[in-house]
C-alpha cells in the first residue's frame, strides 16, 4: 500500500472511531460533564447556597458523573439558561485535596477517594457528553500527541538548514528582493481572495438570518466556557508595527530553542546567514554550507521515518477532533458549516487554477501534493506539515529547493487564506444571527483587518478563533458571539489547513514558473521504482554504518 493510502485509511478510521466512540457519540450515553478547568465553574454542595461553594484547582480536569438536572428561580428559561444546574457526583483526587477548596461534609474532613455529590451551574460547563468517550479519548490522545511532537521536532532544524542553504544557493541578494516581493504579493492576494469568498458567500446565503437573536444568544452561551479562553488571549496579541519589528530576533538561539519557536525570526536569521555566506569567499563558506546541506538531508530521512507511523498518529488526532465535535454539525449551525466548506472548496479550486497556469495539470497537482494535504488534514497545522511540504515540493513537484523552501516556509507562517475565509464568513454569520447591521464601511474595515490578522496570526491550531475575537471587537459585536462558531473550530481548522497548504504549493509553483523553472511532477511509477526520492520505499535502503577513524589516528 502506498504511503498516502495508509494515511487516508488512518483518517477514515479516525473519523469513524470519533463519531462512534467519541465523547459526543450518539451511541454512547451522555452521562458526564467534562470540565477541563474546574476552577472556573460554580460548584456548590447545597443547591442555591453560595456559601457551600467547592473550589477545585485549575489543573484538576474532572469528569463529573451526571445524576440529574434542576431548574432554579423563574421557570421558562432555556436549556443553557443561567438557572439550570446539574446534579453531579465526583470522586476526590489528591490534586483536589491539595487545593484545599473542598469543605468538610457533616463535620468529616474530605478524604481521598471519597465520592461527593454537588451541583454544577450549567452555564459554566459544556453540555453533557459520554464518560466512556472521554476515557477513550484520553487513552488515544497520547498517540496523536507523540506523532505531532515527532514531526514538530523536525521543523526548526529543517527550516534553518534548508533556508540557509537555499538562500546561499540563490547567490544574489537582489534576486531575493524581487522574488520575495512577488511571494508576499501572492500571499496578500490569495488571503484577500479567501476573505472575499467567505464574506460574499455568507452575505449571499445568509446562514445566520434564520436564527432569532435570542436563540443565537442561547446557542452562543452553550460555548461560553470556551470563549473566555479566546478573549483572554486577545490582549496579548501585538499590533502590526510590533509584529514587524519582532521579526528581527533578539537572540536567534532563543527563537529556535523556546518551546514555541518563532518561525519568522528563525527565517530572518537563516536568510541573513545565507546572504552573509554568499558574501564570503567560496573557500570560507563551503564547509559551513556543506554541513548544513547534509544535516538537512539527514532530517528529511528522519521525516520519512516519522511518516511510517503517520497513519496511526493521524487516526488518533482525527478521532479526537471528530469525537469532540460529534453530530453537532447537523444542528442549527450546520448551514454555516456547509457554507465554509463550500468556500474552502472554491478557494482550493482557485489554487488548482494557479497551479495550472504554472503548467501543472489539476490531476498532477493534487496527486503530487497529497501526502502534505493529508498530513495537514490530520495535524491541523501547516507548520507541523512543513517538513513534508518541503519534501513534496522538491521530490514530487520537482521544484528547486532554493525558491520553494523560502515560499513554503514563509507561507506556513503568514499565508492563511483558509483561516481568513473562515473568519470573514464567521463575522457575517455572527452579525446576522445577532441582528447586527453591517454597513459597507464596516465590512471594508473588517476586510482589511482580517487580511492583516491572517498574515500576523501564528500558525498554531485554533489561533483563528483568537483573531476572530479581535475582528468582532473591531466591528462592535460582543465577544460572546464567538460561542456560535467556536464549537466547530477544531473541525474547521482541520479542513482549512489543507486549503492553506494548497495555496502555498500553488504559490511555489507560480513563483518557480515566473522565474523560468519548469516543474517536473513525479509519477507513481517513478516513485515506486526508486528509493532515492519521492515518498515510497524511502526506508528500504541499505543502512550505511558510520566508520570511526580512531584507529587511523593512533
Amino acid at each position: 500500500m502506498k504511503v498516502y493510502q495508509k494515511i487516508l485509511l488512518g483518517i477514515a478510521a479516525g473519523t469513524l472511531f470519533g463519531l462512534l466512540l467519541g465523547p459526543q457519540s450518539l451511541l454512547l450515553k451522555k452521562d458526564t460533564v467534562h470540565v477541563v478547568d474546574p476552577s472556573r465553574v460554580e460548584l456548590q454542595a447545597a443547591l442555591g447556597d453560595p456559601a457551600s461553594k467547592i473550589r477545585l484547582p485549575r489543573s484538576a480536569t474532572t469528569n463529573f458523573a451526571l445524576v440529574g438536572e434542576h431548574s432554579v428561580g423563574k421557570a421558562g428559561a432555556g436549556k443553557a439558561g443561567r438557572n439550570l444546574w446539574y446534579e453531579v457526583k465526583f470522586t476526590l483526587t489528591a490534586k483536589m485535596l491539595t487545593g484545599g477548596g473542598v469543605p468538610a461534609l457533616e463535620g468529616k474532613r474530605p478524604a481521598l477517594g471519597e465520592t461527593r455529590r454537588a451541583f454544577l451551574r450549567a452555564a459554566d460547563a459544556p453540555p453533557p457528553s459520554s464518560g466512556l468517550g472521554h476515557r477513550i479519548a484520553a487513552f488515544i490522545g497520547p498517540i496523536g500527541e507523540i506523532f505531532l511532537r515527532l514531526i514538530l521536532m523536525l521543523v526548526v532544524p529543517l527550516v534553518f538548514t534548508t533556508l540557509t542553504v537555499g538562500t546561499a544557493s540563490l547567490g544574489n541578494v537582489r534576486s531575493l528582493e524581487r522574488f520575495g516581493l512577488r511571494v508576499l504579493v501572492y500571499f496578500l492576494l490569495t488571503t484577500a481572495v479567501g476573505t472575499a469568498i467567505g464574506m460574499a458567500l455568507a452575505l449571499l446565503m445568509g446562514p445566520g438570518r434564520g436564527i432569532v437573536p435570542t436563540e443565537a444568544a442561547l446557542l452562543a452561551e452553550q460555548f461560553n466556557f470556551l470563549v473566555s479562553d479566546a478573549t483572554s488571549q486577545v490582549q496579548k496579541a501585538p499590533d502590526l508595527v510590533t509584529f514587524l519589528v519582532q521579526i528581527v530576533p533578539d537572540n536567534p538561539l532563543h527563537s529556535m530553542a523556546s518551546a514555541q519557536p518563532n518561525m519568522l525570526q528563525v527565517m530572518f536569521f537563516s536568510i541573513m546567514f545565507g546572504v552573509a555566506l554568499t558574501l564570503l569567499p567560496e573557500s570560507r563558506s563551503r564547509q559551513v554550507l556543506h554541513l548544513l546541506d547534509k544535516t538537512s538531508k539527514a532530517l528529511v530521512m528522519v521525516m520519512h521515518m516519522v511518516m511510517a507511523v503517520a497513519p496511526f498518529g493521524v487516526a488518533a488526532l482525527i478521532a479526537q477532533t471528530v469525537g469532540a465535535t460529534g453530530y453537532r454539525i447537523f444542528g442549527p449551525l450546520g448551514s454555516y458549516l456547509l457554507l465554509v466548506v463550500v468556500g474552502l472548496a472554491i478557494h482550493a479550486a482557485l489554487s488548482t487554477l494557479v497551479a495550472r497556469r504554472a503548467g501543472v495539470s489539476p490531476q498532477d497537482f493534487w496527486r503530487a501534493i497529497r501526502p502534505a494535504e493529508l498530513l495537514g488534514l490530520g495535524t491541523s497545522s501547516s507548520t507541523a506539515t512543513l517538513p513534508v511540504s518541503l519534501a513534496v515540493a522538491e521530490d514530487n513537484l520537482g521544484l528547486s529547493p532554493k525558491l520553494s523552501s523560502f515560499t513554503l516556509t514563509l507561507g506556513s507562517s503568514v499565508n492563511m487564506p483558509g483561516t481568513a475565509l473562515f473568519q470573514a464568513a464567521a463575522l457575517v454569520f455572527i452579525a446576522q444571527a445577532f441582528g447586527v447591521e453591517l454597513p459597507l464601511a464596516t465590512l471594508a474595515t473588517a476586510f482589511v483587518t482580517i487580511i492583516l490578522l491572517a498574515v500576523g496570526t501564528a500558525a498554531a491550531p485554533s489561533a483563528g478563533v483568537v483573531s476572530l475575537a479581535l475582528v468582532l471587537a473591531g466591528v462592535g459585536i460582543p465577544p460572546v458571539g464567538i460561542g456560535l462558531v467556536v464549537g466547530f473550530d477544531r473541525l474547521l481548522d482541520m479542513l482549512r489547513t489543507p486549503v492553506n497548504l494548497a495555496a502555498d504549493f500553488a504559490g511555489a509553483l507560480w513563483v518557480a514558473h515566473a522565474t523560468g523553472e519548469t516543474p517536473q511532477v513525479l509519477t507513481d511509477e517513478e516513485d515506486l521504482a526508486t528509493t532515492e526520492y519521492g515518498f515510497e520505499g524511502r526506508l528500504d535502503r541499505e543502512q550505511a554504518p558510520y566508520e570511526r577513524r580512531a584507529r587511523e589516528d593512533r
Binding site: N172, T278, R284, S285, R549, D553
Partner: protein, 560 residues
Amino acid sequence: MQIYTKIFIGMAAGLILGIFAGPNSVVAPKDVVHAEDGSVLPLHLAPSLQAKRLVLPAGVPAQLQVIGEVQSPRGVRFYHLSFTPGACHKLTLGSDARRVEVYLPMASPFKPVWSWGLTILRVLEPVGAIFMRLIKMLIVPLVFCSLLVGVASLGDVRQLGRLGGKTLGFFLATTILAITLGVVTANIVQPGRFISEDDKQALAANYSSAASSAAKRGSDKPSAAQNIINIVPKNPLAAMSAKQPNMLQIIFFALILGVGCTLVPGRKTKQLVSLLDKVNDAMTMMVHMSMAVAPYGVFALVAKVVGTSGWSVLAALTIYSLVVIGGLFLHAIVVYTGAVCWVAKVPALGFWKVIRPAQLISFSTSSSAVALPLAMETAKENLGVSHHVSSFVLPLGTTINMDGTALYQGVAALFIAQVFGIDLTLGAQLNIILTATLASIGTAGVPGVGMITLAMVLTSVGVPTIGVALILGVDRIIDMFRSSVNTTGNLAAAVVIAASEGETPRILLPGADAARADAGIEGRLDVPQHAYVPGDDTPDDDTPDDDTPDDDDSQNESKR
C-alpha cells in the same frame, strides 16, 4: 561616505529633531499631558487639592488635552485638562461618561508636551528597535564562536592562563582607578548641593515607579559567592538560548570547550574549530550588513532620548551629568591614552581615530555589548591586534570590564547621598568603591543595566534606593557616555595586552581603510557574491579527516 560619518549625521539629525520636534520641543505648543501609565497622574475633578481624585487605569497610557490654566481660591495653580474616556476607562468612570474635565496641579512633575512630538517619536521607534535587535541578534553566536576559536587557536592552556591573568589584572586596575576618580570628583564638586528641595521631590515623583522596580531587582541580586557559582552553566544551551542570554556562562563554556578542543590528540577537533571559525566569519559579515542600517537606527534612538527627557529634566541634573561626563573624559584621556601610549607604544591620536566607529555605536545604543562585534572588527582590522587576543579580551571585557559604569556609580551614589543629606564617611566611600567594582563585573553590557547595580550599591551603604529615581531622567544620556568609555577601555586593554604578548599593534587609519575592500570596516560589502551549488559533494569534504586547504589555523597540525 564613511560609515561613521553617516552615523554621526544620523545622530546630529536625531538631536535636532528631538529638540525641535520632540514632545518637549522648544518651539511647538505644549497641548497634551501624557503618561505611559495613566494611574500615576494626580488628577482632581475640581481645581482644588482637596477635590476628589480621579485615578486612571494602571498600565494603560493616558493622553489628556490641555484646555487652559486655572487658579484655586487658595492660590494653587492647575492645568485644566479634558479627555474622552476609552473602553478601559469606562470601568472606573462608568459607561455613560462622555467627556471628562480634570485638573492637574502645576507643581506635579507631569508637564504638558507637544502631541505631534509624541506621534513623531512613536513613528520613529520601530526604526531604532529594529536596529537594536539586528545587532543584539549577533551577540551570542559571535561571542561563542570567536571565543572558542580564539582559545582553541592558542593551542597551549598555560599560555591562556598567562593571558587570562594579565587581562583580568588590567581590567581590575582600570576599574578601580575609574571608580576612585568618580568618588574623588563627586567629593570635590559636590553636585548634590545644586538641587533645590522642590525639584528633589518633583524628580522623585516623575520616576517613582521605575525606581521602585529597579530597587526591587537590586535587592534580589544574589550574593557574591552565588555570583561566582552562577558562572558555571548547568546547561550551556539554556544559557545561550535564554531570552536574556547569560554571557558569563557562555564565555565559561566557550573557554572550557576551546581548551578541550586543544587537548584532544591528533587533528580530530580541527574540523570543528575550523567550522566555527567560518561561522564566525559569516557572523562578522552579518555585522557589516547590519551596519548598513546603522545611521537610521542611530537617528531614531537619539531623537527619542533627547525628545523624551528634554530640557526640563536635563536642566536640574546638568551639574551632576557634567561631573559624570567630565570624570569619564578624564578617565578615558588620562588612563587609556597613558596605557596605550606608554605601555603599548602606540600613537594615541591614531588609536582615538580608528576606534571612533565602535565608540559611536556604543554611544548611540548605550551598550558596549551591542558595539562588541564592531569593536572586535576594529581591534583586528584597524588596530592590528591578533585574533586570539582580541577574541579573548573584548568579549570578556564587555562582560566584566565596565570602567564607565563603575565611575558613574561612584558619582551617582555620592550625588544621591548629598541630595538626601547623608554624610558618607571614608569607610562608606571605600565600601562604595568595592561594591561598585564587583557590581560592574557581574552585569552585562546592555542599556539600563547600570541602574540595577546602582540600587545594589546604594543599599550597601544605606542610602535610600529611591534616590535612583533622581538620576533616571539623565541616565539614558549618561549611559551613552559610559558605554563608549566601556568600549574604549576594552579596546585599550586589547592593545595593551597584545603589546605585552609580544605583538606589535599597528594602526590602519580611516583613509587607508577606505581604499581597501578586504580589510578594515569601510566598503566591505563591495565584494562580488558567490553562489553556493548544493548537492555535488566533492569527495574531499566527505572524509572527516581530510584537510581543507584554506585552513589558516595551522598550530594544531604540528601535533599529529
